[in-house]
Amino acid sequence: MSEHIAAISDIAAKYDNDPNRLLDILIDVQAQERCVTDDVTRQLAQQVGLSWADIHQTVSFYHFLSETPRGEYTIYLNNGPVAIMQGYEEVAAAFSEAAGCSIDSVTEDGRIGLFVTADIGMGDQEIAALINRVVFTCLTPEKARALVKDMQEGLSVQDMARKHREYGDGNNSLPAIHSMVRNNIQKAGPVCLGPYEVGVALRKCATQSPEDILSQIKASKLRGRGGAGFPTAMKWEFCAKAQGPERCVVANADEGEPGTFKDRVLLTERAELLFEGMAICAYAVGATTGSLYLRGEYTYLREYLEQVLEQMRADNLLGKDIAGKAGFDFDIRVQLGAGSYVCGEESALLESAEGKRGEPRNRPPFPAQSGYRAMPTVIDNVETLASAAQIIDKGADWFSNMGTEESTGTKVLSISGDCDRPGIYEVEFGITIGELLDMAGARDPQAVQVGGPSGHCLNADARDTMISFEGCSSAGAIIIIGKQHDLLAIIDNFMEFFTDESCGSCGPCRSGTWMLRNTLRRIRQGQGTREDLTSMRQLSEVMKKTTKCGLGHTAPHPILNTMDNFPHLYEALIPEQSDIRVFDLEASIKAANAAVGRTSASKETREKEEEQL
């Protein structure tokens, strides 16, 4: 027992018992102990100087932290939208049957824990799962059974992965990654995936003044690639002008939007470009501290990213007097997330990086004024920062000549779902949905989900819609949904996602998400009314107007979009003269029946049930 206490104590000490590093501490404890028990929470509370309640609230927030053991082998099976279209149910059943435990539970011997998780950024190679942080892709029921056998025999997760599938292409096969994940780069554009030589941009940067750098970014008209499209130069200027002894640059690599996986590929193939972009931003705003917030799902990339950082330090591209420029000091550390979609929201990301629950902050102050540990902070998407580095190397004109008037440059898109060529496409802004569908080999789809669940659900009329900030803006996820699928089942999956991922802090989001989900479910079960449609619209309006952050503002989109673009789906489910609420007697008294040991309410149903028995 005392050894055990010492082990926990060592983990906390590794992070200087700093409450700001609580998330790192908890992630390490979880990896070692397979859980963060109450006792451990109490011990940590003593050690880092917080209360039990304070630490518990962080532990209970993250999907990959748990208070009960999650098994020697913890399987997180992805139940994102593409997975449910491509056979998630069968794979889940195979895992569950072979392991002998149901979803959300651990086998009796504590060996295998089976859990689900929202999209893990592998939409182009579903069905995917994480087993002890190692990614497994292209799973089938047979493969699931084979993996369970390996686990029962005690194979290491690395050996399981090697047996299962060979290493992926590009850097995925490097020893520091050694992953079966494939890049699936279908179209490499000129900016993020174009020709690139390490260090050129940063050395050019160091010969100019910060103002020159800012003016080039401004001239390029670069806008944030995370979806909102805020002008990057403006964000950098706000931070540069803010008061503070120290400034910070954070790269947001928490791409949690189901269907998005472009940052996964950029981190694998263009890590140096991203880090150069961060250093250039740091130079422009006068920052010395840098952090890459890497989503927990991408833990498999951490070792490689640390290696790249180390090499860049050795090459004088990070650290002190970067590129020989006296006083240009900047370094980057990797901060892991632990499973939370809302942490992609910039202020929630900062809270998380500070070791707290990843809840959006009340604004003002904005991160540019007071961000990570109160430092004026720039938070940009991975793709934005990588683009900035190329702009400094190749020029603002080169960049702004691509794309459209309002949306210059390229966009890296993640295309998945029902198409022949899922994967990564770097295209100029202004491309139409129709062109994309043709490129990816998608024939006659039912719907195209642009920008993931929070984006837009488009129908066949949308072929001419442009991907751009002035047209249809997104962080890059395009999910193609064929006619063979029940679209409302996918919308249900989205609403379940939002219900679970809402941080719970603001009331209209917390209760609005489950209310929308429950109403949709009732309609799907044939118990909806016209009144339900009106009430979903009203509630969506309230959420858009009153919730604190983007999650609450956009969570109603799946429902609103499908009511507008696919009204026939709802019409077909709602009985003609259903002004009064449809009531399912059997379902409503199920619990009461169970309590008194009666099988059913009506004689008729009872007789039917008896017959079946």
Binding site: S51, E501, G504, S505, P508, T546
Partner: protein, 254 residues
């Protein structure tokens, strides 16, 4: 999370519902409205006064019922600072309907049985339901199963009535800033938890304060309850928001 609000002394002018008012920079719209006798409903933000013992105003920004329109955009009045020439809409049909919906959502999310609740008559949620004339919520009840915690010697914590406003989380702390209450989980599984060790040793004053600042009847002092009898409480005769000064400061604004 921004917890406390500091103000400076520079004076600016803005309008709320057409009425021109003076405010200090750094103040929130809610604070400025409160000082000028304009009522904006709140369930989470709380003005510090002698009775509640808060050292400074708190604005968790969780309930969103103070949503106003600022130059056309909807914002939470409790977390939005004032600025020169802001045009704020507050008491409008649209906003009051939003507020009514928020009250309705809170009613269906938890299990609120006013007739059997100790807080009846001084409960902000109940009072707002009356103010917005909620008859029957338009949404279906969740009938959620919530735990009642009576383990602490001084406090009874009834989660059925909790609206997760976080006043207790922010305001009830030890002298060195450790939280007695915390927020657990997320999404539809969110809840408030207590640090059993710390709550076991809570002082009489803090126990009283916790009960007092709770806008509903979720935190009750054991064996004490409320002194004022039913029928003579804050909202029994004067509906919430009916006073010329904001009810959150009970006219005691310093």
């Amino acid at each position: 999370m921004s917890e406390t609000i500091e103000t400076s002394s520079e004076t600016i002018t803005l309008t709320i519902d057409g009425q021109e008012i003076q405010a200090k920079t750094g103040q929130t719209i809610l604070q400025a409205a409160c000082e000028n006798g304009i009522y904006i409903p709140t369930l989470c933000a709380l003005h510090a006064d002698k009775e509640n013992g808060l050292k400074s105003d708190i604005a968790p920004g969780t309930c969103r019922i103070c949503t106003v329109r600022v130059n056309g955009r909807t914002m939470a009045a409790c977390t939005t600072p004032v600025a020169q020439d802001y045009i704020v809409e507050n008491d409008t049909e649209e906003l009051n309907d939003l507020r009514k919906t928020i009250v309705e959502l809170l009613f269906v999310e938890g299990n609120h049985f006013c007739p059997s609740c100790e807080k009846s008559g001084s409960c902000d949620l109940q009072a707002l339901a009356y103010r917005y004339q909620m008859l029957s919520p338009r949404f279906r009840y969740a009938f959620s199963s919530r735990e009642v915690n009576a383990e602490s010697p001084k406090l009874l914590f009834d989660r059925n009535r909790c609206i997760l406003c976080r006043r207790c989380v922010l305001a009830i702390t030890t002298e060195d800033g450790k939280q007695l209450f915390g927020f657990t989980k997320r999404g539809d599984k969110s809840g408030i938890i207590m640090d059993e060790e710390l709550v076991k040793n809570i002082s009489e004053e803090q126990a009283q304060q916790a009960m007092h600042i709770c806008p509903v009847g979720a935190i009750i002092r054991k064996e004490k309850g409320f002194d004022t009898p039913f029928g003579q409480r804050k909202y029994d005769h004067n509906p919430i928001g009916s006073e010329t000064v904001c009810t959150t400061c009970n006219g005691e604004k310093s």
